[in-house]
């Protein structure tokens, strides 16, 4: 765990969970910024300044940019929250960079989820293979269905998570969701962006809904309005740091 020492886009202090190996790092952080602030507008690349990392340069990784966009009608809120993937990399031991993606600056506050592994290239060795573990999603009354690509790859200090939504029983589609994640480590605690669903007011991107993973339990309080549209398969893609020692 460490906190940032500064940034060039007015985001305030950012707290990171981290696992730092000799030649790669896994970083988790969630923070927001206001695109109207002068520091953000002056920046070409968003930079977060941090204490010494174990690596002094990385290849490009993907992080998730999200925004809220809601339309209130008389008795109904039309949720058009959206998000996409942007590029991120470590420029030097003390600087994490984010691609400046301005398409949604008019939506107000932007929230970034860093749940990424930053690797290095031209290292003396090929990739180290992990083991795929199918996550056994269970509920007392089963109403959530998941694609076979719902799995994790578990390492001692971190875990890779991919979940892909298939369907939900009709009567539960507007209820808060909860499910047990069998065979997934219980020492992971994180908000995770759930990207997918047709976004009527922001058609250039998928919808965004917020999910949470804690103590081997998956929860998702609400979904954006087009969440279960055919062909927009909501998914979670995250490298998550484990809390256990």
């Amino acid at each position: 765990m460490f906190t940032s020492t500064g940034n060039n886009f007015g985001a305030g202090t950012i707290q990171f969970k981290d696992y730092q190996a000799e030649n790669y790092v896994v970083l988790n952080a969630k923070f927001s910024y206001d695109p109207t602030n002068a520091a953000y507008q002056a920046a070409d690349v968003l930079e977060i300044y941090v204490p010494d990392l174990s690596i002094n340069r990385s290849a490009v990784a993907g992080v998730i940019l999200t925004f809220q966009d809601r339309y209130v009608y008389s008795s109904y809120t039309w949720n058009n929250d959206g998000g996409t993937a942007i590029k991120s990399w470590i420029k030097d031991k003390n600087t994490i960079c984010l691609e400046k993606f301005t398409n949604f600056d008019d939506k107000g506050e932007i929230t970034i989820f860093i749940q990424a592994l930053y690797a290095q290239k031209n290292q003396p060795g090929n990739p180290i293979k992990g083991t795929r573990t199918r996550i056994n999603m269970t509920q007392e009354t089963r109403y959530l269905y998941w694609s076979s690509e719902t799995f994790c790859v578990i390492f001692e200090h971190w875990v890779f998570l991919h979940m892909q939504f298939s369907s939900c029983s009709y009567s539960y589609r507007s209820q808060p969701w909860e499910a047990q994640m069998g065979d997934f480590p219980t020492d992971v605690n994180a908000d995770v962006p759930f990207l997918g669903g047709s976004n009527q007011y922001n058609p250039s991107v998928n919808g965004f809904s917020l999910a949470h993973v804690e103590n081997g339990v998956f929860t998702c309080q609400e979904r954006m309005s087009g969440f279960d549209s055919t062909g927009y398969d909501p998914f979670i893609f995250a490298f998550l740091v484990r809390d256990g020692e």
Binding site: A59, Q120, N122, N126, H162, F239
Partner: protein
């Protein structure tokens, strides 16, 4: 031509037959007209058009801007010959720096840089040239600068100076983690691969894309050797797949799949075009994948298309395989998010 009785008197100017004499900064320079040795390449046509455009644009500058270039030129000098320092005019400096900038994809600079920029030399560990691979290894990374590489086509091994035959292979590349793999660019530019026993000449320098200043040129030459001989001498192929390693029928327009991470991921940067109305793209490989790189991966992606969901985030499952039936391939298959063509698959992909 104004002919003077002896060169010792100086002051030559004009042309006679194929010789031209001119006075530059108090020096007499004699030059012999050169004739092109091959057909004009499309890159040369583009460069000449760019040169002409830059020259003409100088006339559009304000008087203050021109003075700025003249002032900077007073502090610059051309190559020193016989102990006499060559001077350079504001116009020539403007052209020189802007040619470099436009070559690196930057716009023309109207205001002269405020100061001179001293660039380092290109330093590296080795250059390997085989019929399949041209790579500079162990380049000392210089952040913010781009490397310009010029190379000749294969010459007879007995040729001792072939640097006048070099053409620009890359107008400005960053080293790729200490390597500069020129195999694809060389073939794309010159249209032929070097043959074993042929000698290729190289020139390399750093370019500052902001100011247009360039560093000193490093010259080198290598005789092309077989893959086996290079391996015996210590060349270790970096484990990555680029466009140069793909068969033409592949469905990707860019490909950089790098296995050299020594961590639990592969680094991807590929543009998937899709094919046959299925949500996947195949990259067909010329050679087999190393056994420990065969497996399945999962990576993040973002659309690059137009219209609906053009920036949609997606997840891709990636199958890396060697098949005795239909060869080696990498399949990028869409999974999460809305499927978009084309899509860039990028970042770390877990390997299992």
């Amino acid at each position: 031509m104004q002919a003077l009785p002896s060169i010792a008197f100086g002051g030559f100017s004009g042309s006679a037959k194929d010789v031209t004499a001119r006075q530059v900064g108090g020096r007499t320079i004699l030059s012999v007209r050169s004739f092109p040795t091959g057909p004009t390449t499309s890159a040369q046509v583009v460069r000449r058009a760019s040169l002409s455009k830059i020259s003409k644009s100088f006339k559009l500058l304000t008087a203050d801007q021109m003075q700025g270039w003249d002032r900077l030129a007073e502090h610059c000098s051309g190559a020193s010959v016989f102990g006499q320092k060559a001077e350079i005019s504001g116009l020539n400096l403007y052209i020189r720096l802007n040619v470099s900038r436009t070559m690196a994809g930057e716009s023309i600079l109207s205001d002269a840089p405020t100061s001179l920029v001293a660039l380092p030399n290109v330093t590296y560990e080795n250059i390997w040239v085989t019929p399949k691979t041209i790579v500079i290894k162990g380049i000392a990374h210089e952040a913010g600068y781009k490397m310009v590489v010029k190379m000749s086509a294969g010459q007879s091994a007995g040729v001792s100076s072939g640097w006048s035959k070099t053409v620009i292979i890359t107008p400005g590349m960053e080293d790729d983690w200490g390597d500069a793999d020129l195999s694809y660019l060389y073939f794309k530019t010159l249209g032929v691969k070097p043959a074993v026993g042929q000698k290729v000449f190289l020139e390399m320098y750093w370019l500052d894309p902001v100011s247009g200043f360039t560093g000193q040129t490093t010259k080198d030459a290598r005789v092309c050797e077989s893959e086996e001989d290079a391996a015996a001498e210590g060349y270790v192929k970096r484990n990555k797949i680029t466009m140069a390693d793909l068969k033409e029928e592949s469905h990707v327009s860019e490909c950089d799949v790098d296995f050299s991470t020594n961590s639990p991921v592969i680094s991807f940067d590929a543009v998937c075009l899709g094919h046959s109305n299925v949500a996947s793209s195949e990259a067909y490989l010329e050679d087999e994948l190393p056994a420990d790189c065969v497996g399945t991966s999962m990576a993040l992606a973002r659309g690059m298309g137009e219209g609906n969901a053009c920036f949609a985030a997606q997840s891709y499952i990636i199958w890396l395989r060697n098949s005795s039936w239909d060869g080696s391939s990498i399949t990028f298959a869409h999974r999460g998010g809305y499927y978009v063509k084309p899509t860039e698959v990028f970042g770390p992909g877990i390997l299992y």
